[in-house]
Symmetry: C2
Subunit: 309 residues, 2 copies
């Protein structure tokens, strides 16, 4: 039992209306690994970093059960770097700087000991790289989950469609679902997207929660109403990490199993935004997670017997 995670391990510099970070550790695969490792091990990481990526970060991840055999270290090059600034609503942001660095020429190699993974989590990355990993796997994992973003819809749609056709679960946000489908209504968008290949579609709506679509069924997972969102960076990746980590621990890949996994993902993501970068994820305890899960249960629980009287 294991989860392969493909994605960036990188540096971010973040500005929000409430503060500003230095160059800190980030990247989709980093957040996913921190989040998923709360629930399962090993996490089998496929990524690329430069010589500037802190050894301490790699050691800490390893100690949490993250296998780094698939992480290429390009000693004389620099890690991917993103600098961005969030607007007051914390939902929209401007990219101030992007340095592709090692990510520009990344050719993923799947190590032999990763060949038996139950779940493949394709974090947000070039569809070419994502396809490359799928093609190197000798046996299709039981569950393939894909996260992507509008950038790839605009620059690599043909490859992206190929990846989408091969996955079980697609994760996008609401505006990306509209862009991908050409439908304004999310129900209409889901119908179109499910025709493209995935059996499950998760539409993330940030502070408004997430929707899971499967055939004619829909499930809604709320976001926890928060008094303060300090830094939303990585919340979507953290959500994805909690989702696949939890699923790998239950092996229940049914619609019912995914509902619970989405609640778990939402709960972990609600921690992520409380501090800059991965700070909050690093200090998270199992008790805090259980308490937060109970808050989610309380948030949507009502007495069904009252309604049916």
């Amino acid at each position: 039992m294991s989860v392969i995670v493909v994605g960036s391990m990188a540096f971010d510099a973040i500005e929000t209306p409430f503060g500003k970070s230095d160059k800190i550790v980030g990247g989709a695969a980093t957040y996913i690994a921190w989040s998923a490792s709360n629930f399962t091990k090993p996490i089998q990481q496929i990524s690329v970093v430069g010589g500037d990526f802190p050894q301490e970060e790699l050691d800490t991840l390893k100690a949490r059960g993250v296998q780094l055999d698939g992480v290429q270290i390009k000693k004389d090059k620099k890690s991917f770097f993103w600098k961005g600034r969030y607007h007051m609503d914390m939902n929209t942001r401007d990219t101030l700087e992007t340095q592709l660095n090692v990510l520009g020429e990344f050719e993923p190699v799947v190590p032999d000991n990763f060949q038996d993974a139950d779940i493949l989590m394709l974090g947000n990355l070039s569809p070419t790289v994502q396809l490359g990993v799928i093609e190197q796997l000798k046996k299709r994992p039981k569950l393939v989950v894909l996260d992507t973003m509008n950038f790839w819809m605009e620059t690599a749609m043909e490859d992206l469609e190929k990846v989408i056709a091969k996955v079980d679960v697609l994760l996008v946000n609401d505006s990306e679902a509209r862009q991908l489908s050409g439908q304004y209504s999310l129900v209409g968008a889901a119908k179109e997207i499910l025709k493209m290949g995935p059996k499950y579609l998760i539409i993330k709506k940030g502070e408004h929660g997430a929707l899971l679509f499967h055939k004619d069924h829909v499930f809604f997972a709320p976001a926890l109403p928060l008094e303060e969102v300090f830094d939303p960076t990585g919340a979507g990746d953290t959500f994805a990490g909690g989702f696949v980590g939890y699923l790998d621990s239950t092996k229940d890949f049914s619609f019912e199993g995914m509902k619970t996994a989405i609640i778990v993902g939402s709960a972990i993501a609600s921690f992520c935004v409380e501090k800059f970068g991965t700070t909050r994820l690093r200090e998270l305890t199992r008790q805090e997670i259980d308490e937060r899960l109970q808050e989610f249960i309380d948030l949507v629980s009502f007495d069904i017997s009252l309604v049916s009287r």
Copy 2:
């Protein structure tokens, strides 16, 4: 057992990206009465109409258990009229025309046979009129619910604050909650607003559902993801009507009781938007309501035992 409903009974002309209505029957109190009368009777209506308001509408409401003793009919005057156009997102709209007519000089009179109501539902209307009704009641109803909007915050804040201080439940949408509290975060906004008097605050987020705040507790009711929203006019009033109508039928005014009532209000509101004006509410059957309630239950239900393993 009865619910007093105060609000406009009026005409609307509506344009949406999908169609255009003639001058049709509308008004907050009309929607509330149609919605609430699915669950309880009598509804005791306090409003004012002109000689142009259709007798057939009054007769139909009466047949549903709506008492019209408090509805003043100004034979030689015209009913309130609102004309508006919705934007593509169906969440925002422009007012194209407003004719106050009889509403401009409305002085509500509470009939003697309305004095024993358990619930007072103050639909969106001038705070002066709302205050006038509260002051005429010899005995405070067990539950006073207030709906209002940004217009009154901008033009009659002093009177509005007086009304807010006297009610048990306040209903506003998310931008109104921010405006009223000066807080961007809805959790922060709720804290401020609950200091103004109400014991319960419901923040309506349209397609993103509704939040119920009470002390340190919060409950989230989703909106049903809809493929098509045909006309959102009156959805908030319909929500309020279902909420108070259901509460009057259970008399459970606790936090738990209100959670269920919000789900019921959301369910009825999800019908309202399917056709122009009150069309859909007029043809609604009990079976349809029960089926829709089941859809809401399915939408948020997940296996709690899975999470707590």
